[in-house]
Symmetry: C2
Subunit: 455 residues, 2 copies
C-alpha cells in the first residue's frame, strides 16, 4: 500500500478523537493539513452529530475546498446543505470554484437554488447564474469563469502583476488568455513562456495567435477528445462570435473521460449506472429490471419464433441441441462488432466514408470468421453425431449467422448514430437478442427446407 493511505488512516482516528473531545484546535490542526480529497473522504464517514461539529469548526472557505471533493452518489449534496445554516451554505457555495458550485446546485430543486443565490453576494451569484444556463454535457456546463485574461499591448511585467494578483482565485494560472478590445479571444500564452521572457517584452510578440478553442455548445466528449489529443492543461471556451466565456481545465476532463467510458461500458452490459455503489439490492434491482423486462419480452418473441417451427422440432428433436450454440455465437460476434463500432463513434471517427468502410470491413470479417467457425463446427458435429448432413446444416447456419450478425452489430449503431441516438444504447443484450432472432430464422429455415435429408 502507498504512503498516502497509511498516513490518512492513522490521522482519521486522531480526527475522530478530537471531534468527540470537542477539541477544535486539535481538529483544525490535523484536518486542514490534509488534501481536500482526503478531507471529503473523512467527512463522508461522519455521523450527523460529528458533521454538525465540523460545520462549526470550519470557515465557509475551508468547507468549500472539502465540498468540491464530495461525490453525490446518493443525494449527499442536498443532505449536507440542508444540515448547514443557510447563510453558511450560501457563503460556502460562493467560495467554491464556479463550475463545482454549479454541479452542486444542479442536483437541488429550483426553489433551493433560488434561495441560496439570494443570500449569496451578488458577484458570485451572477457568475453561477450564468453558468447554470448551459445545457448538460456541453462545454458550457463544465467550464469555469475563473480564468486570467490580459491584453496584447501589455508587457510581460504587467501581465505577471495581474497574474500574481488573480492567482488566488483563478482555477489555473498556467495559461493566460489574451483578449482584444471586444473581449474576443486573440491569443494565448503559457506561464512557462511568461517566466522565461524578459519583463519588457510585449505580450503581442510572444503570444501564440493560433489559439485552440471550443464552442460553448460543443459536446463535452468532443472537448475531452481534443484535450487528450493535444495534451492541453486548459482550453478556452468561446461563443459563436469568438468572445471568451470561460475555460475548461484538465481535471474536469479527466472526470469526463472516465464518465463517458463508464457510460459506454454500462450500456454494453445494459446496466444503467455501473459506477454507482448502491446501498441495497432493491435499488440495484430497480435499476436493472426495466432492461430485463424489455429483454424478457424480446426473448418471448424469439420463443414464439421457435414455436412456429414446432412441427420441425417434433420430427427432429436433435435440432434443439444446437439452438444455444448458434444463437450464442451470433450474440458473441455481434457484440464484438458492436463494441468496435460504438467505440469508434465515441472516439470521434464519424466521417460517412470511414463508417461505411467499417461496415464493409465488418462484412469481410464476418465472412472470414463465419467460414472458419462453420468448418470447425461441421467437422465436430460430424465426428460427434456421425451424421454428415447435420454437421453441414449446423456449419452452414454458423457461417450465415456469423456473417449477418457481424454486419448487424456494426450497422445498427451506425444507423442509430445517423438518427442522432447514442449508439451505445444499442447495448450488448439488444444486439444479442436481435441476433438470436436472425440466427433462429436462418437455422430453422434451413432445417425445414432440407427436412427430407435430416429424418
Amino acid at each position: 500500500m502507498s504512503e498516502i493511505k497509511e498516513q490518512a488512516e492513522h490521522e482519521v482516528e486522531a480526527l475522530l478523537t478530537s471531534l468527540s473531545d470537542k477539541n477544535m484546535d486539535e481538529f483544525r490542526s490535523i484536518f486542514l493539513e490534509q488534501h481536500p480529497y482526503d478531507q471529503a473522504n473523512v467527512f463522508s464517514k461522519l455521523d450527523l452529530d460529528q458533521r454538525n461539529t465540523v460545520y462549526q469548526y470550519l470557515s465557509p472557505e475551508e468547507m468549500a475546498a472539502l465540498f468540491e471533493n464530495i461525490e453525490d452518489d446518493d443525494g449527499q449534496y442536498e443532505t449536507y446543505l440542508s444540515e448547514m445554516d443557510p447563510t453558511f451554505a450560501a457563503q460556502m457555495l460562493a467560495q467554491m470554484y464556479a463550475d463545482d458550485a454549479v454541479d452542486v446546485l444542479n442536483e437541488l430543486d429550483k426553489d433551493q437554488v433560488a434561495s441560496y443565490l439570494t443570500i449569496m453576494d451578488d458577484d458570485a451569484a451572477e457568475e453561477i447564474r450564468e453558468l447554470l444556463h448551459y445545457e448538460e454535457y456541453t462545454a458550457g456546463s463544465i467550464m469555469t469563469t475563473e480564468y486570467i485574461s490580459i491584453h496584447a499591448h501589455q508587457t510581460v511585467h504587467s501581465a505577471m502583476q495581474i497574474l500574481k494578483q488573480e492567482a488566488p482565485n483563478a482555477e489555473t494560472i498556467y495559461y493566460v488568455f489574451v483578449i482584444d478590445e471586444d473581449e474576443k479571444l486573440a491569443g494565448v500564452i503559457s506561464l512557462r513562456d511568461l517566466i522565461i521572457s524578459d519583463s519588457d517584452t510585449m505580450i503581442s510578440e510572444i503570444m501564440s495567435e493560433r489559439v485552440y478553442s471550443v464552442s460553448v455548445a460543443e459536446d463535452q466528449e468532443e472537448v475531452a477528445r481534443k484535450m487528450k489529443d493535444y495534451n492541453f492543461l486548459a482550453l478556452p471556451v468561446v461563443d459563436f462570435q469568438g468572445h471568451l466565456l470561460g475555460i475548461i481545465t484538465v481535471d474536469d476532463i479527466v472526470d469526463v473521460i472516465d464518465e463517458e467510458a463508464s457510460d459506454d461500458y454500462s450500456k454494453l452490459a445494459a446496466v444503467s449506472d455501473v459506477g454507482s455503489t448502491d446501498r441495497n439490492p432493491f435499488s440495484a434491482a430497480k435499476k436493472r429490471l426495466p432492461w430485463l423486462i424489455i429483454l424478457l419480452f424480446l426473448g418471448m418473441f424469439t420463443a414464439s419464433l421457435i414455436g412456429r417451427f414446432e412441427e420441425t422440432l417434433d420430427k427432429v428433436a436433435i435440432l434443439a441441441v444446437f439452438i444455444p450454440l448458434i444463437a450464442g455465437m451470433a450474440g458473441n460476434t455481434g457484440t464484438q462488432a458492436l463494441a468496435v463500432a460504438v467505440r469508434r463513434i465515441s472516439l470521434g471517427d464519424t466521417e460517412d466514408q470511414s463508417l461505411s468502410k467499417m461496415v464493409f470491413k465488418e462484412a469481410g470479417t464476418g465472412l472470414i470468421t463465419g467460414t472458419i467457425c462453420g468448418i470447425v463446427v461441421a467437422l465436430t458435429v460430424f465426428i460427434w453425431k456421425g451424421t454428415l448432413f447435420l454437421g453441414i446444416l449446423v456449419g452452414l447456419s454458423i457461417l450465415a449467422t456469423l456473417t449477418v450478425a457481424t454486419i448487424s452489430g456494426a450497422f445498427i449503431p451506425l444507423i442509430m448514430h445517423k438518427l442522432k441516438v447514442d449508439p451505445a444504447v444499442a447495448s450488448g443484450p439488444f444486439i444479442t437478442t436481435i441476433n438470436d432472432i436472425i440466427s433462429i430464422l436462418i437455422y430453422f429455415g434451413m432445417a425445414t427446407l432440407f427436412m427430407q435429408y435430416l429424418i
Copy 2:
C-alpha cells in the same frame, strides 16, 4: 465543426503543394506553426516519397515533437524509423521526452534499440536506458526523468532562476520538487506558490512537506486513480527508500484512463483491442477468432448437455422453444452483475469486506429480479400456451437461473481478482456461456423431474 478542424484542412492542401513543389521554406513556415498533434496527423497521411522529403526539411528536434504524437497502431514506429537516416533517428529519439522515447523503443526489437542507443549522445542514452528497465503498466514505465528539483535551503529567487534555466527541457514546470542531501523527496511547491511569494523567502518556509508520491512499482491504473481523485497535474515517483526517480504528468494519465477503460470494455465484448483501427478484415478476424473458437467449444459443451436431455425433448418438443429465452436471460443478468463487479474492482474498491458484501447484495438483487421476471414469464406463458404447468416450469426456471446467474456474474470476477487474474478477462461472453450451462441444467433438470405433469 470547430475552428481547429477547418484551419487544419485548409492548410493540409497547402502543405502537400509545398512538398510536391519542393518548396522547403513554404513547407516549414506552414508546418511549424501547427500543433505537433496536427503535424503528426498530416505526416501519417503522407506517402514514402513525401515522408522522405519531410525528414530532409525538419531538424531532429522538430521531428521529435511530431513523433511524440504518432500512434503505433500498425507498426508505424518501426516503419518510420527505418526510413530515416540512423543518426537522424537517434538524434530525434534523444530530443523526445524520455518517457515518449521509451514508448517508441519498447515497440522495436532489442538489436535496434541497442544500435540507436549507441549512436545517441551518452546523457540521453543513459536516461532512456534507466527508464527501459521498468516493467510495463507500472508507474516507472510511464514516468519521465525531466523534472525540476531544488533544495529546501534555497530562496524563491534562486529557485526561479533554476526554473527559468531548466524550463525548455522539463516536461512540466508547474510543480517543483524539493529534495534533501540524499536526493530523497522532501517536499513540493507549485509554480503558483513560487510566483506569489517574495523572492527572499526560503523554500523551506513555503513548501508543502505533505507530498503525495507513488512507488515506482505501483500499477499505472492505481496512479491514474490517485491523480484523478486528487486533481494533481503531476505526481512524483519514488523508490522504496523514498528517493525521487521521476514524475508522471497528467497528459500521460489521461491516456492511461482512456486505455484502461477501453481495455475493460474490449474484454466485456471479448475483442482483444477495440480501439485499434484495423486496416483489413483479415487482421480483425485474426484478433477475434481465438475468442470465437474458445466460445465455440464452450457452446458445443452446452449442446452436449442438452443432448443428454434428448429423451425429454423427444417427448415434449415445446421445451425447446424456451431455451433461448432462459439462456438469454441468464446471460443478461450475469453480464449486468459482471460489469458492476469488474468496474468496482477496476476503480480500486478491493477490500474483502466490501467485496463479499457485494456478492450478498447481488444475491439479493438476483432473487428480486428473478422473482419478478419469473412471475411475468409464468403469466405470459400461461396466457399464450394455456398450460399452467409449463408456465410455472418456465417461471421457476427463470427465478432460479436469474438468481444463480447474478451471483456467478459477481462471484467469478471476485475469485479471479483473488487469484490475481485480471477480472475483466471473465468477459461478457464467458459469463454468458457459463450461465447458458447453468440455466440449461436447471431448466431441463426441472423438466425431467416433473415430466409427468408436462405430457
